[in-house]
């Protein structure tokens, strides 16, 4: 039995049936991480003293290992957001999602690499160095949750948590051949997630099997008194959407997403996948989302503005390292100069610019208006359609170093994922094939606010007749 290829829920069942022991499972995954992580740099920290589940729980994922992105607080562990400025920061509390997964009996193995403060789409902007794509180490794993995606992809753990502000769960999931799920904004508490763009951020699961995703989502979602933007919307039992029945569902394909600039191989694979949904009885038709081209500029104004404000707390006074200087302002300036990487500085400056006096109306306020247009446009579609299918990213994984000095081309790799964050709707990326070179391709499904069940139903239906999610990288098979 190849334990690392079992789904999380299968592992849990086998432990409960006494076919496997918890210790064996934990030591097997730790062994894989020790052996292979030096090649991929997916984890920034492997916990030597893993905490075993404290209680019995009826959870379908009891005893299952999980990796956590380095921007979600775990009590008594170092959390750095892959930034020098947070080196040495030991969290004194658990994020709400961590409290919940511990209660459900999941086993946290360690923390995963990311773009610093989640700024990036390649996992190259990290103080720990880049994470590499398990399918081909010359390529990026995507970002910012690149460490989580690469970890699940290489069989370091069946599950991981990431965060998604503009595509940071879905794009790396697509680059690493795994499932990445961005829930509705507010569905999952952000308490204990280091804030990037507070009106956009959401925590979500990565796994190979949509069943694992549904179970994990069920565990982490729900209203939380500690997050004033968490939704009071009743949570549906997401696992009851795990059924192979999509007959009659109406799916839209936005014309604006299938245009020049979309890589031919990505297009081919996504179109093949669409045929699968059609063959299962879904109605597919073309739709229009004319404001799509404004999503990226709108997002970079809003997310950078929110980031510049959120990151003002990293000033050397409260956390991490403090640089000595002659006065307070110099302490701030030197600490931030040393502590932040290039991309963090770019975003903070861009955000400060768009919020500054004289420019606020021209940039920030206008971007808020564009956001409402994009949201309205999507909601209009959801009056007639239950889902929208698109590629997750316009290209397959790109090479390490290819875009790192060209921020604009890096930003454009999130063109298809950003509208979901701007409008707060849930979306999932599913593996749907490979390029000739053997690099993974992902498709994205979007649905209306709080309609995660539709995404799960469509994903389950797709995975029940395809095998893309089961194809491991050759070196980590």
């Amino acid at each position: 039995m190849e334990i690392h290829k079992l789904s999380g829920w299968e592992i849990s069942q086998k432990i409960k049936n006494k076919e496997l022991t918890l210790n064996r499972v934990i030591s097997l995954f730790k062994e894989r991480i020790r052996r292979f992580n030096p090649q991929l740099n997916s984890l920034v920290s492997l916990f030597e003293d893993v905490e075993p589940p404290s209680s019995e729980s009826s959870s379908e994922l009891w005893g299952v290992p999980i990796l956590i992105k380095d921007n979600i607080c775990i009590k008594n562990r170092e959390i750095t957001c892959a930034s020098k400025i947070l080196k040495g920061f030991i969290s004194c509390y658990d994020a709400t999602v961590i409290e919940k997964i511990k209660k459900a009996g999941l086993v946290i193995l360690g923390t995963t690499n990311m773009d610093e403060f989640a700024f990036g789409s390649s996992c190259e902007n990290s103080c720990y160095g880049p994470t590499l794509n398990p399918y081909n180490k010359q390529y990026v794993p995507g970002g910012s949750s690149g460490g989580s995606a690469a970890g699940v992809s290489a069989g370091f753990s069946p599950l991981a948590l990431g965060s998604d502000t503009g595509g940071s769960i879905r794009q790396p999931a697509s680059f690493c051949g795994v499932v990445g799920f961005k829930p509705t904004y507010g569905r999952v508490s952000r308490y204990g997630l280091v804030a990037f763009g507070s009106s956009l951020d959401v925590i979500g699961p990565l796994a190979r099997d949509i069943r694992d995703v549904a179970y994990l989502l069920e565990i982490i979602s729900g209203w939380d008194a500690k997050d004033s933007t968490s939704s009071v919307q009743e949570k549906r039992p997401f696992s009851s959407a795990l059924e192979d029945n999509i007959k009659g569902l109406k799916i839209g394909l936005p014309k604006e997403y299938f245009v020049a600039g979309l890589n031919k191989e990505v297009e081919k694979n996504v179109k093949e996948a669409i045929k699968v949904f059609e063959s299962k009885g879904a109605y597919i038709s073309e739709i229009n989302l004319p404001h799509t081209e404004y999503a990226v500029p709108c997002y970079y104004i809003l997310s950078s503005s929110e980031a510049s404000s959120n990151l003002s707390r990293f000033d050397g006074i409260r956390y991490g390292a403090r640089k000595k200087a002659k006065d307070l302002i110099e302490v701030y300036k030197k600490t931030r100069r040393e502590g932040f990487g290039k991309e963090a500085k770019r975003r903070i400056m861009l955000g400060t610019f768009s919020l500054s006096s004289g420019y606020y109306e021209a940039y920030y306020l206008k971007a808020l208006k564009v956001r409402s247009l994009i949201k309205k446009e999507l909601q209009e579609v959801f009056r007639h359609y239950q889902a929208i299918i698109t590629p997750t990213s316009p290209t397959p994984p790109f090479q390490i170093g290819e875009r790192i000095e060209d921020p604009l081309s890096m930003y454009l790799s999130d063109i298809y994922t950003i509208p979901s964050n701007l409008s707060g709707i849930p979306s999932v990326s599913l593996p749907c094939g490979f390029t000739k070179e053997g690099l993974p391709v992902g498709l994205q499904i979007m649905a209306n606010h709080f309609s995660e069940d539709i995404l799960i139903r469509l994903s389950f239906s797709y995975q029940s007749v395809t095998n893309w999610h089961k194809i491991y990288p050759r070196e980590y098979d």
């Binding site: 904004y185 004033s228 006074i317 956390y319 931030r336 610019f353 208006k369 956001r371 921020p407």
Partner: protein, 103 residues
Amino acid sequence: MVIFPKKDMGITKEVVKHIAQLCRIELDQEELNYYSSQLGKVLEYIEKINQLNLEETSFEFNPHTQTNVYRVDKSEKFFNLQGLLKIFPERENNFIKIPKVIE
């Protein structure tokens, strides 16, 4: 006080210098050149939203309309004071040390 240039002039080094001062990031001359050129290109792209007529468009700050959820304004005992204190870069006993604020 830095006078921002007209938008069509793009982002100048003076503007970047001013922004860096506002967000408390020290930049040397080389970095100033580097960020001016990169931010210039990004801003040029972002200008795209000005193609839209937004006069009549309304906006909200959050992605879906919902009211703030408040909790009762009641103090709670924090369970991990030592853990909290350890986060601060400098401390003495149960006190935190910060640089001098008032000259």
